[in-house]
């Protein structure tokens, strides 16, 4: 996984609450058996005016010129600001794959849905929870070409002279900073798992079919 330490980037806004993963990446693109190829279809039904299908490229689509991510001032943004409960709905990790491939490495919102939040950390995309009034203020100023500096180690988002601290689970922070592989980390505890499993089999033998 890609590590995440610091990020200086342009901010783009998505001013809607409860953005669900069906919006982030619609179902017709979930048929792929790969982890890549989703960026072109991020927020597909909002970015484009026509109905997209797998394999279409953005230059053969009808662009929705009014949608925030299509506005010239937000091109090249790597930080997305969003509203409450971002990423609700389906567990599809494709949503994070699409955001990352499009260019977003951090999402700032007052709250996130649980499964999406966890999926971000598997892919080096940093979800940052900030108070609603801070997010509100960022929305008000975003059109001026707002850039932010994120420092994960220091747990800060710096906005000009303002520095906003944020909370993060220490384990998730460490994982992001190092880009460690989760499975390697857990397999280092394989003996512990095996010993638990042996006891579990004794306590609840009906759970084992072999």
């Amino acid at each position: 996984m890609d590590a995440f330490t610091t990020l200086d980037g342009l901010v783009a806004p998505l001013d809607r609450a409860n953005v669900d993963t069906d919006q982030i990446i619609p179902k017709q693109y979930l048929k792929s058996i790969k982890r890549t190829g989703f960026g072109d279809y991020l927020f597909d039904a909002w970015r484009f005016l026509d109905q997209g299908t797998m394999g279409m490229t953005p230059n053969e689509r009808q662009i929705n010129r009014e949608f925030s991510l299509n506005l010239p001032e937000y091109q090249g943004a790597s930080i997305l600001i969003a509203r409450d409960n971002f990423g609700c709905g389906s567990s599809r990790e494709h949503a994070v794959w699409a955001l990352k491939e499009f260019g977003f490495r951090a999402v700032l919102a007052p709250s996130f849905a649980d499964i999406f939040f966890g999926n971000c950390f598997k892919n080096g995309v940093l979800p940052i929870t900030l108070p609603a009034e801070v997010i509100d203020d960022l929305f008000k100023r975003v059109a001026t070409g707002l850039t932010l500096s994120i420092d994960l180690r220091a747990q800060t988002v710096t906005d000009g002279e303002h520095v906003h601290g944020f909370e993060i689970d220490p384990a998730l922070k460490e994982k992001m900073l190092t880009g460690m592989d989760d499975i390697d980390l857990t397999l280092a505890e394989a003996e512990l798992i095996r010993s638990f499993e042996a006891g579990h089999r004794q306590r609840q033998p009906w759970l084992f079919r072999d």
Partner: protein, 480 residues
């Protein structure tokens, strides 16, 4: 030793906690992983690339469900005309064979929606930890199993280690007192709960549904209830074990037999929250106050009783909520103050992991009463949750009742719940749907979903618009 009263969630969690790391996260042992074609291929590929085996082959069970066509099942793979979808279903088949995972393949009568198949086979048992790369895994919580939807990286992690790395969630009690009225089902109950909690109301929590009304629900009703826990933000929902649970599991193919059954039953009966157990949050709802529910917006929290009207954003104090409502009403093409019973529908979908079990089909068929699908309804689909549900409905004569009334009788799969297969809404069409999500475009590009119970969907099919099924008079109007 003092024994602090524990919640059901505490008990199942503790029985699976392999260890706690210094950073506060736990390793949680997983008893069952359900697999389907959409979220597993990248995980299998990851295992293969790293040269890792499955930790425990017998803890996995697979079936294709999201992509399978529901109209031409007898052709098997050849019935899938979308090449990309075909590759995904074939990949699941190849992976299951390569790794030795048991699969109910596309032509197996036991194939169906994973969350229907697991319980039906008795593969879901009380006190288990269950995961699947699908957010509606919460369904299995009806059995007092800690069942959670996970992303594909976590699917691969469970394949390789039989564990999840997780922080324990908080405990949320949803107490439902009293009894549901005639014509009001588990679906209406859960929609009302989501309406009350909001779509993020239980984020970070595991819900336990408690109280008299929950005890009265059948296992299928409890599955419907737990299924939509994720729509209130909770990764998992639970119902404590009682006779209803035990009786449902007894005799199913994967259930323990003989002495092992007795041993299992003794343990399962301990899977209830202790008297005095403390919950971090709770709400209490009086079941008798709940009317049949219909969603009017683009989030499952946007629901109203059938006797109510579409809300007016002008009445809302919260600016973000008012704006969301306005966006939703524009997308849905509904007017503030419009009566819910005045919403016409042109498509009907009876199916999904929420409502495609035999009791759902019985409740839907009971609304037909010799009527026909209304002239303004262009298509009414009935998609059973599994091949076995389908066979049972045919044996009971339900299938014929649907067909005679003008419904299409299909084969099992996720179908138009998310429209990954050819079953999709057209732009602007209003659909009475027994599924779980009314997000923009969920059932088809530009489609407008109204979430309802199976009985409400069937009654809407016959009348061409929503009707209050508690009021028998609506049937005399015929196709209105």
């Amino acid at each position: 030793m003092s024994s602090k009263p524990k919640t059901l969630y505490d008990k199942v969690w503790e029985a699976h906690e392999v260890g706690r790391r210094s950073d506060g996260n736990s390793l949680l042992y997983i008893d069952l992983q359900l697999l389907h074609e959409v979220t597993s291929p990248q995980a299998f590929e990851g295992l293969q690339l790293a040269g890792r085996p499955l930790w425990r082959v017998d803890a996995n069970l697979a079936t294709p469900d999201h992509n399978v066509p529901t109209s031409v099942r007898a052709l098997g793979f050849d019935g899938i005309t979308d090449e990309v979808a075909l590759e995904q279903v074939v990949t699941l088949d190849k992976n299951c064979k390569a790794f030795g995972v048991q699969q109910f393949e596309i032509l197996d009568p036991r194939q169906g929606i994973v969350h229907v198949v697991g319980p039906e086979q008795g593969a879901t048992m009380p006190g288990m930890t269950v995961v699947c790369g699908d957010s509606h895994t919460s369904t299995h919580g009806a059995f007092a199993a800690l069942a959670q939807g996970i992303g594909t990286s976590e699917v691969e992690h469970v394949m390789a280690t039989q564990c999840l790395v997780q922080n324990k969630a908080k405990n949320f009690a949803v107490n439902v007192t009293g009894a549901l009225s005639e014509g009001v089902t588990a679906k209406d109950l859960v929609l009302a709960i989501i309406g009350r909690l909001g779509t993020a109301g239980a984020t970070g929590h595991t819900i336990e549904y408690r109280g008299e009304a929950i005890r009265q629900l059948s296992m299928e009703g409890r599955m419907t209830l737990c299924n939509m826990s994720i729509e209130a933000g909770a990764r998992a929902g639970l119902v404590a074990v009682d006779d209803t649970t035990i009786n449902y599991i007894h005799g199913r193919p994967f259930a323990p037999k003989g002495e092992l059954w007795n041993q299992a039953e003794d343990y399962w009966r301990t899977l209830v929250s202790d008297e005095g157990a403390v919950f971090d949050a709770s709400i209490t709802i009086d079941a008798s106050t709940i009317a049949p529910q219909v969603s009017w917006g683009t989030s499952p929290e946007m629901v109203a009783g059938i006797d109510d009207v579409v809300p007016d954003p002008k009445d809302m104090n919260d600016g973000v909520q008012a704006e969301s409502t306005e966006l939703a009403l524009t997308y849905m093409d509904l007017q503030p103050g419009q009566k819910i019973t005045d919403i016409a529908v042109s498509r009907i979908f009876i199916g999904s992991c929420t409502n495609a079990r035999i009791e759902d089909l019985r409740a839907a068929a009971a609304q037909i009463r010799g009527g026909k699908v209304a002239a303004n309804v262009s298509e009414a689909l009935v998609v059973p949750g599994s091949g076995l549900v389908k066979a049972q409905a045919e044996a009971e004569g339900l299938a014929q009742q649907f067909i005679d009334a003008g419904f299409q009788w299909r084969s099992a799969g996720c179908s138009m719940c998310l429209g990954m297969n050819p079953d999709q809404l057209g732009e602007g069409e209003h659909c009475a749907s027994t599924s779980n999500r009314n997000f923009e475009g969920r059932q088809g590009y530009g489609g407008r979903t109204h979430l309802v119970s199976p009985a409400m969907a069937a009654a809407a099919a016959i009348n061409g618009h929503f009707v209050d099924i508690r009021n028998a008079q609506h049937q005399q109007g015929g196709a209105g």
